[in-house]
Symmetry: none
Subunit: 231 residues, 2 copies
DNA sequence: CTCTAAAATTGGCTTGACCAATTCGTGCGT
DNA sequence: ACGCACGAATTGGTCAAGCCAATTTTAGAG
């Protein structure tokens, strides 16, 4: 059962795939211990360092569990990570709805923590956005900064990361290319006005209003996105 | 700039983290080529096979791009996949706080959409969890199913994916390994009771109570996780 | 039958070597 | 002076062998 080597992929990837196939086919059962490194390398016809590289890939994706001195075990059900997240199959509607719900909740947490300095940073982001629009540029970075400044006020890196990831999905190079005509000056002006409304609510310490406005901003952004969809 | 070796983690993980830190600090800029393998191994004070193992981890998570004969390049913006939480310095506290806020918000959206069938599925998940606990097994899959059934009620794939990803970070193979003694039967019984309380609130159509209980469940889970941290 | 210690087995990491792909430098021709 | 081709150098890919450390297994003594 040697590895069928092909030049297109690195050997560790091919070995890792071979081991995954052996697990999926039942040759190695869940929870069972694999042959020792030296034995498995020999069976697969590769060197021990190459096998170790493959095992690292399998450890990272949760397929196996490696215990020094004991052996390599097929991870039990539930420890394997799901397939890498891909925005394929997920519509812009779902993405923007999720952002609306999640960012409104995050804003609710962050609202009580805004210092004057943080409000000033939001103001600067808005002014930068305004200047970019007037120069005919796309203020994507200012848009991103605005959302991340808010998420950052929670002091929670996980929330900030989730907001950043969802924002980047909204503005991934592929989705941006497919909707180049979406980024009109009028649409950015609308977004700017919505950011200003959010900041005004924060300055008034009106958390419910800020949340409602953030929710509305993202629903409006969704509408602008959908309406730009080619027909 | 040698790697500060610690016995708790594999050397390749420590080397990969060190390289990530060098990138984040600007020592290696985006798009730039890293020193050659032999040079970098020497700088970090490890062997070349150990460095290669680290590079595989970095290749898998999208941090670097490896080109045979040419070199190792820091992936440009947009190519980097989200980092595993341990690598980004995100604490379990932040992860669980984020889950508490986000899943309570998602539950608020989902609460009005629960059919009797969906409530029955939640009940089945709880019964399966109870049976697993009584058999001395870790009901991780039932735990995951419970949270994903709720997120799935929103009909929004993005929300479901975010919940799944955050759940899997909580239960990644690495974090599970480091806290093997966390998964006690008593702790799982507490989690089961909390799941039951959430379901009871949903059955009573009491959305605020369901949200409050979900929030409390995840804060309790965080407390159980933190208290299991070795001192 | 139990316990302890040694041996064996296992993974972790290193050194060193050779192969293959890419890049760079040099020399020659136009 | 520029372009092209070829060889050298540099780069990553893979391998063999060895030693260290943790865990498991086995054998012997009580």
């Amino acid at each position: 059962m040697s590895v069928n080597r092909t030049p297109e992929r690195r050997l560790y990837q091919q070995v890792a795939d071979q081991i995954r196939r052996l697990i999926q086919s039942g040759h190695f059962t869940l929870g069972a211990r694999l042959p020792a490194e030296r034995e498995l390398a020999q069976q697969l016809g590769v060197s021990r360092p190459s096998l170790r590289e493959a095992l690292i890939a399998l450890e990272i994706d949760g397929t196996v569990e490696i215990r020094m001195g004991s052996g390599i075990y097929v991870a039990s059900n539930g420890e394997q990570k799901p397939s890498p997240p891909a925005a394929t199959g997920e519509s812009p509607v779902e993405l923007m709805d999720a952002r609306a719900t999640l960012e409104a909740a995050i804003l609710g947490l962050a609202a009580g923590r805004f210092t004057q300095e943080a409000l000033d940073e939001l103001r600067q982001s808005i002014e930068g956005m305004r200047a970019a629009i007037e120069e005919g540029r796309k203020p994507i970075e200012h848009d991103r900064q605005f959302h991340l400044l808010i998420a950052g006020q929670t002091g929670n890196g996980v929330m900030a990361r989730v907001v950043a990831e969802l924002f980047d999905e909204r503005h991934s190079p592929i989705s941006s290319q497919l909707r180049a005509h979406f980024d009109t000056t009028d649409n950015w002006r609308c977004a700017l006005a919505e950011h200003e409304a959010i900041l005004a609510a924060l300055e008034m310490r009106d958390t419910p209003a800020a949340q409602m406005r953030m929710h509305r901003h993202l629903e409006e952004s969704r509408r602008r996105w959908i309406e730009s969809e080619p027909r």
